[in-house]
């Protein structure tokens, strides 16, 4: 291993998640269960934002964990563990969405429990003109946002989810999605434009958020 490889491996070993994964690789009793408990919330959340259905999100998250277990012996720490984990998640989520596109489906809607279900056409959200933005409740807004996310292509959606909900920078997202940071920048920019278009009727209901720095000045 060269000097760069050594330093990146040493850097990775400082990551407690890497050390946990190394315990999984060594077949240490209880380590894999600990890994599942550590990452289940984040993985299910990513998958939920990608597919819009909690049951499917949990199935996909389980599949990610099983793949982690199966490939544990070939794991070599090079970067943050979450980057490796989310790369597997990204591939699975994109495959799942592409497979789903091949099958006919109806839109998803959120129930009070937060689970999204397929609903018949007559129960779908009415056109937004019927809902003044100031009266929309948070759960309805969540539904609208989920639909806006689903309107993005799967790569834009994954970039948004990793950036917004995992707080990942362009370099890490690029690593997960096997793209260049420049491509990620472009993906996120186009995703924001699409979201702005899809959510423009709801933008000004959000006046409670902080002002931009230039306005504060």
């Amino acid at each position: 291993m060269n000097a760069i490889g050594q330093s990146s491996a040493q850097f990775a070993l400082r990551d407690p998640d890497v050390r946990l994964m190394l315990r999984v690789r060594a077949d240490e009793v209880g380590a894999f269960e600990e890994l599942v408990q550590t990452f289940q919330g984040r993985l299910v959340s990513i998958m939920f934002h990608m597919v819009g259905n909690r049951e499917e999100a949990e199935d996909l998250a389980q599949e990610v964990f099983l793949r982690v277990f199966k490939s544990r012996k070939s794991y070599h720490p090079k970067a943050k563990f979450s980057t490796w984990l989310f790369t597997i998640a990204n591939n699975l989520a994109l495959n799942s969405i592409r497979n789903r596109k091949k099958k006919p489906s109806v839109p998803f809607v959120a129930s009070e429990s937060g689970t999204f279900h397929q609903i018949p056409a007559d129960l779908r959200l009415p056109p937004k003109e019927e809902h003044p933005s100031s009266q929309i409740q948070n759960d309805e807004l969540a539904q609208v946002i989920q639909k806006a996310l689903e309107g993005l292509n799967e790569r834009q959606r994954m970039a948004v989810v990793l950036n917004k909900y995992e707080d990942m920078n362009y370099a890490d997202i690029a690593s997960v999605m096997e793209l260049t940071p420049k491509a990620v920048k472009s993906l996120l920019s186009r995703a924001r434009l699409n979201l702005k278009e899809a959510l423009k009727a709801y933008i000004y209901m959000d006046q409670g958020f902080g002002e931009i720095r230039s306005e504060e000045a």
């Binding site: 894999f32 389980q62 948070n138 996310l149 924001r192 959000d206």
Partner: protein, 171 residues
Amino acid sequence: MTPEKNEIDGDAFQDREELYSAYLDGELSDKEARDFEARLASDPEERRRFQQLKETWNLLDYLPAPEVTTNFTARTMDRLEKITRHSTARIPLSDSLPGFAFVAGLVVLFVLGFLGMNAYLRDPNKEMDLVKDLRVVENLPMYQEIKSISFLKRLDEPELFGDEVSGSQGQ
């Protein structure tokens, strides 16, 4: 294409939107960020466009993260155990396949060798060869004394023994 996009050419529009996006994501250098903030401060229209993008992004905070079902870990471990058990049931066969193949190969070679040798020993031609060569076999110790073919050929020369015969006759 949005009306805004018609106002400027495509590349400039894309560059501007990427700049907004990179600023929101904290991906600009300090100098780039300061320059951008100066632009926002001096241009109300730019500030409005940027504010729209920022608020759109903030709307995503309203999307709740789902709670993982309480038995998720247990279900995952069960699923893993089923797969592992299934694999374990199959793994010995697949893992020991080379061993089985080696042993099977040895058995096949042994059987073929046995059958081949048996067939060779029972070959009637082989028995005929033995009969044909019987006199050679019987005299093999004597033939081995001869050492070389040339010596044997010289023994066959009549003059070699002819002189001795005539000489003895002369005595």
